[in-house]
């Protein structure tokens, strides 16, 4: 892998610390005025690698490594760094809690009016956004893990109390975010003969005739999902279930809307007591961008680290289970659609067309991300080869691994990004939109994710190539002078230069990519059985010759030969312990022993000839 995650994270941290602590105090916001998502991104630039990657821990003064300390110098000493993190969390919580003490999840400056001539209304800025729920899940969990560990070094009572208060507030925010994610999950039953249904059928048919066979087939494949929908007992309107029951021939889609759905009902679990459940605005229709975003946050909720560290309270467990059910359904639904049929799959038909009628290579990337999550769960591993090809194509089409031709529309993916309409928002003001320009980062993340589950060395190499190209693209998009994102004009010179201020969204996405790369690097290499057998054979031969040598070499200690035999023995023991996971290393050790031992035999042979 050409990507060097440790170096990239260190570089980013150095630039981050300079930008954020230039004045000595944490400075919020950058290119965009701060909002609940952007500020969370800013914290996670530090906190995410610190939680996920060995060697970047910041939670105990003693766990901070020297090179990390050096790049974070503007934050102060090893003693100051965890304190600075604590202060940032306190400030974050204060900024995103309303007057009644309820957590807020607003989109603020990230919201755009679909028509740039119109102005977003004040009350629209206050809409809760699914992305904020999802990033809050990640933030709160990382923060809790961090603070629990930090607490163990702290002796001062007053400081202990401060930490305890932040943990409690993070818990409240986490609960509210989980409730938000439950209320923004939607099942959209498609009207027969509607444009949406037509798109869905066109997507799965891939040129085959959309006849009775195909629709029946599709219904059959989706039946397991449909069967589980009645288990979703809260958040959704009761009519939903009834419709699915009364009209078994209708198709549906499920996933996350951009915010709490218009028809969302209240969550009446004990855990949700006290959580404000405002009336929803968002059109009750899953959007791929927010679906993947929600799934990403949920992945942290279901991670082994979360359960190992016991980061969830017992009340949160019930919310977790409800979300787990929705997570499973979304994964199953989308991967079924993506890989339907025996011929060409929908996912291979770039760009993906959403049921809203909008199509973009970014949507293909999103569906692939869902498929990759399903692959991680162990299902669908047969689909990896085809995913690899699609990812490669996305790299080409998305102008990540290929240069842009003049007036290439692919550039728009990166600047200004894909604009997605937020249906339902038009009721209280101008129609709103959400923009996403992280195509390259998402590509790298998905490639690395798939590489992590791929057992084939060839596929893995191809995926790493895609990831490397994306990382190269990302690195080139940094501002030369301060080393922070985002300056797409560096790559696509026809674009207007961006302002010099740091864009924390792209910075955080890049950091996520580096973390994913670090995860892949720290996993054991792919070892195939043939190699393992070969290594074991070599070790066996070397052992046998070693035993023979022992039989004949005089035991007088200290002789050169005895020394060589002792070293050979040590090498073979080491080779034995490595043969399973790193067979090539084991074989190399055995090779050296074989050569060394043969020198003895060859020398004796020479002696016998000259006698």
């Amino acid at each position: 892998m050409r990507t060097n995650p440790r170096q990239h994270i260190l570089d980013t941290w150095r630039a981050f610390a300079r930008a954020t602590f230039g004045s000595g105090e944490w400075a919020w916001g950058g290119r965009y005025p701060s909002n609940s998502i952007s500020d969370a991104e800013q914290i996670l630039i530090l906190l995410y690698p610190a939680t996920e990657v060995a060697g970047f821990r910041l939670d105990r003064p003693d766990s901070i490594e020297d090179d990390v300390l050096a790049v974070l110098r503007p934050m102060g000493s090893g003693l100051d760094i965890p304190m600075r993190m604590l202060e940032a969390m306190e400030q974050y919580l204060a900024r995103y809690t309303d007057d009644d003490g309820g957590p807020t999840f607003t989109g603020g400056s990230y919201l755009l009016a679909e028509n740039p001539d119109e102005e977003v209304k004040q009350e629209q800025y206050a809409y809760d956004i699914t992305e904020s729920y999802s990033i809050s899940v990640t933030l709160c969990l990382s923060a809790k893990g961090f603070l629990r560990e930090f607490q163990r070094t702290v002796e001062r009572r007053e400081l202990q109390n401060r930490i305890e208060a932040v943990i409690l507030a993070m818990d409240a925010r986490l609960t509210a975010a989980m409730v938000g994610l439950l209320r923004s999950f939607v099942v959209n039953v498609l009207d027969p003969d509607s444009p949406a249904e037509a798109v869905l059928l066109r997507t799965v048919s891939q040129g085959r005739v959309v006849g009775r066979t195909l629709t029946q087939d599709l219904r059959g494949r989706l039946q397991p999902v449909r069967d589980k929908l009645p288990e979703l007992t809260f958040g959704l309107p009761p009519e939903n279930e009834q419709m699915l029951r009364d009209y078994p021939e209708r198709f549906f889609e499920c996933g996350w809307a951009w915010g709490v759905a218009q028809d969302a009902t209240d969550i009446d679990l004990a855990a949700a007591e006290g959580v404000k459940q405002p009336h929803g605005i968002a059109e009750s229709r899953p959007l791929l961008h927010f679906t993947v975003n929600a799934l990403d946050g949920l992945a942290d909720l279901f991670s082994t680290r979360t359960s190992r560290q016991g980061l969830l309270t017992s009340e949160q467990q019930s919310l977790r289970e409800a979300l787990n059910l929705r997570w499973g359904l979304a994964l199953q639904y989308w991967s079924t659609i993506a890989t339907f049929g025996s011929g060409r799959w929908a996912i291979e038909d770039v760009p993906w067309e959403a049921t809203t009628g909008q199509s973009s290579p970014y949507f293909t990337e999103l569906v692939l991300a869902i498929v990759a999550m399903a692959q991680q769960g162990g299902t669908l591993s047969g689909t990896i080869g085809r995913s690899v090809a699609v990812l490669e194509e996305l790299g080409q089409r998305g102008l990540v691994s290929r240069r842009a031709a003049e007036d290439d529309r692919g550039v728009l993916l990166h600047d200004p990004g894909v604009l997605m309409r937020l249906g339902g928002s038009e009721l209280e003001g101008p129609a709103l939109a959400w923009s996403y320009n992280g195509f390259a980062a998402a590509l790298a993340k998905t490639a690395l994710r798939v590489a992590n589950v791929s057992g084939s060395r060839r596929n893995r190499a191809r995926l790493i190539e895609v990831a490397d190209a994306s990382v190269e693209h990302l690195l080139a998009r940094r501002q030369q002078s301060d080393g922070l994102w985002d300056h797409p004009a560096n790559i696509y010179p026809r674009l207007a230069p961006a302002p010099a201020t740091p864009a924390w969204d792209m910075t955080e996405r890049s950091v996520e990519v580096f973390v994913a790369a670090a995860a892949l690097v720290s996993a054991p290499p792919v070892a195939d059985q043939g190699q393992v057998d070969q290594a074991n054979n070599k070790i066996a031969e070397a052992r046998h010759i070693l035993d023979q040598e022992r039989l004949t070499t005089p035991t007088a200690g200290g002789s050169q030969e005895q020394k060589l035999l002792r070293e050979a023995e040590q090498s073979l023991n080491r080779a034995d312990s490595l043969a399973g996971e790193r067979p090539a290393t084991a074989a190399a050790l055995a090779d050296k022993v074989l050569r060394d031992l043969d020198e003895l035999a060859f020398a004796r042979h020479a002696a016998s000839r000259s006698a």
Binding site: R60, D62, T153, E155
Partner: protein, 306 residues
């Protein structure tokens, strides 16, 4: 401010580090007194290169101050030292004085008689008025000197003085354990302090640690010649850090870490910027570490602790 320098074992580098730290404070503009309370083996005179106090003075050192009730000598190093570094100190703009209160030759340890703690307190009070900083170099382990100053600092007349403790230790498993024992052990500083009327929690909060002669893995070290050696050292360093952290001797309580310096290994002396920049016989990192340690002494956020 009073700084008590102690260590569980002899030969840790307490005196060499303490003297250099004192020199740095003087450079930073403070009037500094260095009190050689290592009654058995006074070495500060040798480190400051004061010939008449090489192994302690013939008469009226600190030992005699306690056992014979004589006044103790105060040797201004600018006048009494043979070292150019120290003689030049007054010529550096803004620098303060550095004064040695030497031990006595053939002093030896003594047991504490009833009037000594008061006499000790009196000495500290007087010096605290005259100097910004007093560094008290105590003999190793739980010695009489340690008992004496614990007793003296518990007295009401010293209540208003800031007293802080630096525990020096080498960077090995055994030395870390020993230093921990010196503070937290059954016969340790905290228990002994408590018996003399100190609040153990407050006392503990005034204790910080200094790691001495640590092989610096960041600078290109001549002593680390092979990659495998470097890998081993790094991994072992990590283990030692974890051990120290567990024993509440981690970074939160780390006042300084002095790199191993070949020059100091052979010569117990005060090193100066010209040894680094001109002759290049000492390492920049060593001087920097002394400088940082000196700065930490008055870093209130650091002493507030976590």
């Amino acid at each position: 401010m009073l700084i008590f320098a102690t260590s569980d074992k002899g030969g840790t580098g307490r005196s060499v580090t303490g003297c250099n730290m004192a020199y740095r404070r003087a450079l930073q503009g403070e009037a500094v007194a260095y009190l050689d309370f290592d009654f058995g083996s006074p070495t500060a005179g040798a480190i400051f290169d004061v010939p008449e106090a090489e192994r302690g003075v013939d008469a009226s050192g600190l030992h005699s101050y306690f056992t014979r009730h004589t006044e103790s000598q105060q040797l201004d190093t600018a006048l009494h030292s043979d070292s150019d570094t120290l003689r030049d100190l007054p010529r550096i703009s803004g620098a303060g004085r550095l004064v040695l209160l030497p031990g006595d030759k053939d002093g030896g340890e003594f047991s504490i008689s009833a009037d000594m703690p008061a006499r000790c307190a009196q000495l500290f009070l007087r010096l605290d008025r005259e100097f910004d900083l007093c560094v008290v170099d105590l003999s190793a382990g739980r010695s009489y000197a340690v008992d004496l100053v614990l007793e003296a600092t518990a007295r009401p007349e010293l209540a208003a003085l800031t007293s802080r403790w630096l525990v020096f230790h080498r960077w090995t498993k055994q030395h870390i354990l020993a230093a921990h024992g010196l503070v937290f052990g059954e016969r340790g500083l905290l228990k002994a302090g408590e018996r003399r009327g100190h609040d153990p929690q407050r006392l503990n909060n005034s204790v910080r640690y200094v790691r001495t002669a640590v092989v610096d893995l960041c600078v290109d070290q001549e002593s680390v010649t092979r990659p495998a050696q470097g890998a081993w050292l790094r991994a072992y360093d990590q283990k030692l850090r974890e051990q120290a952290d567990k024993l509440r001797m981690g970074r939160a309580r780390l006042a300084g870490q002095i790199p191993f310096d070949p020059m100091l290994q052979w010569s117990e002396q005060v090193i100066d910027d010209s040894d680094v920049s001109g002759l290049k016989i000492a390492n920049q990192a060593t001087v920097q570490a002394f400088e940082d340690l000196a700065a930490k002494l008055s870093d209130e956020r650091f002493w507030e602790g976590l």
